[in-house]
C-alpha cells in the first residue's frame, strides 16, 4: 500500500484527472450498456407477450 491518505489516493501522483477519467468512463459505459440491454429486454419481453 503506497497511499498515505485518501487525498494522495485521489491525486494519483498528479495524474488523477487522467486516471479517474479513464476508470470513470469505463464504468459509465459498462453501466450504461447493462441498463440499455435491460430496457431492451423489458420492451422485447412486453412485445412477445402481446403476440401470444
Amino acid at each position: 500500500m503506497q497511499w498515505g491518505s485518501p487525498t494522495e489516493f485521489w491525486a494519483m501522483g498528479g495524474y488523477g484527472l487522467y486516471v479517474w477519467t479513464s476508470f470513470g468512463a469505463t464504468a459509465l459505459c459498462m453501466v450504461w450498456e447493462v441498463l440499455a440491454v435491460w430496457r431492451r429486454h423489458a420492451s422485447a419481453a412486453a412485445g412477445s407477450r402481446d403476440m401470444s
Binding site: Y18, A25, H41
Partner: protein
C-alpha cells in the same frame, strides 16, 4: 453430437438457447463483479507506482483489457458470422449481432483510455501511428457492421451482409496486434507475451489479467442478455406458417 452427456444440438435452436442463456447470465455477472473488484483492488492498492510513468500507468488496468476485448470480440463475432454463413444458422447470426455493440464499446474505451494515457506520457492525446490508426479503423468496422444491419430491412439479407463485412474485416485484427512490431510506433510494444517473461512487476500483470478475465465475464453476461433480446424481438415478427399473410411478413421486415 453428445459430449459430457449433453445433446449440444438441442441448444442450437433459439427456443432452447433462450432459457439456457438466461440461466447462465447471473453466474457470469457475479464472476465479472468479483473479478473486476479483485482486479481494481490489486491495481490500486497492491501494484506499486511505476518508476518511469508514476501513477499514470494505472490506466493500463482498463486500457489493455478493453483493447484486448475489442480484438477478441471482433474475432468471436466474425467466427459466429462465418459459422452462420457456412451452416446458414440463424442463432449464429444472432450471436454475431449481439456481440457487435459490446465490441464497439470496448474499442471506443480502448481509444479513450489510450488518449488519457497518451496525454501525460507522450504529450499528445492522439498520434497517427499504426497501432492507434488501426484500432480506430476497428471502431469504424464495428459501427459499419451495426449500421449495415439496420439499413437492410430483410433480416436474412441483413444477417448475411453484415456477416460478410465482419469476415472481411478480420484482416485488421492481426494488423492491430502486430502493428507495434511491423512499424516503428510511438505506442509501446507488448508488455505481456506468450514467449517472453512480462516486462512488468508480477502484481501489475496479475491485476491486468484479473481485470481482463473480469471483462470477459462481463462480455459473456451482456452479450447473452442481448442475444435473448434479439431472439425475443425476432420471434415477435410474424413468421411463415403461423396464419400470417405475405403482407404481414413483408410489413414486419
Amino acid at each position: 453430437m453428445s459430449f459430457l452427456g449433453i445433446n449440444w444440438f438441442k441448444y442450437s435452436s433459439p427456443q432452447a438457447f433462450h432459457p439456457l442463456a438466461g440461466r447462465m447470465i447471473p453466474w457470469f455477472s457475479a464472476a465479472a463483479l468479483a473479478l473486476i473488484g479483485i482486479g481494481l483492488y490489486f491495481g490500486f492498492f497492491i501494484a506499486p507506482t511505476d518508476f518511469q510513468q508514476g501513477d499514470a500507468y494505472r490506466i493500463i488496468f482498463v486500457h489493455v483489457p478493453a483493447a484486448w476485448m475489442s480484438m477478441f470480440l471482433y474475432v468471436i463475432m466474425a467466427a459466429w458470422a462465418g459459422l452462420g454463413l457456412g451452416l446458414n444458422a440463424r442463432p449464429s447470426f444472432m450471436m454475431a449481432q449481439a456481440i457487435a455493440p459490446t465490441g464497439a464499446m470496448f474499442t471506443f474505451l480502448a481509444l479513450l483510455t489510450g488518449a488519457m494515457w497518451g496525454k501525460p506520457t507522450w504529450g499528445a492525446w492522439w498520434v497517427w501511428d499504426a497501432r492507434l490508426t488501426s484500432e480506430l479503423i476497428l471502431l469504424f468496422q464495428y459501427i459499419g457492421i451495426i449500421l449495415l444491419r439496420t439499413s437492410i430491412d430483410d433480416l436474412r439479407r441483413a444477417d448475411r451482409a453484415s456477416a460478410v463485412f465482419a469476415l472481411v474485416g478480420v484482416v485488421n485484427v492481426p494488423i492491430i496486434y502486430f502493428s507495434v512490431r511491423w512499424w516503428n510506433t510511438l505506442h509501446q510494444g507488448a508488455s505481456v507475451s506468450m514467449t517472453a517473461s512480462p516486462k512488468m512487476a508480477a502484481t501489475m500483470v496479475t491485476a491486468m489479467l484479473v481485470m481482463t478475465l473480469g471483462f470477459w465475464m462481463y462480455s459473456f453476461a451482456v452479450t447473452l442478455a442481448r442475444v435473448r433480446c434479439v431472439i425475443a424481438e425476432r420471434e415477435r415478427q410474424p413468421s411463415w406458417g403461423k396464419n400470417s399473410s405475405i403482407q404481414e411478413v413483408a410489413e414486419a421486415r
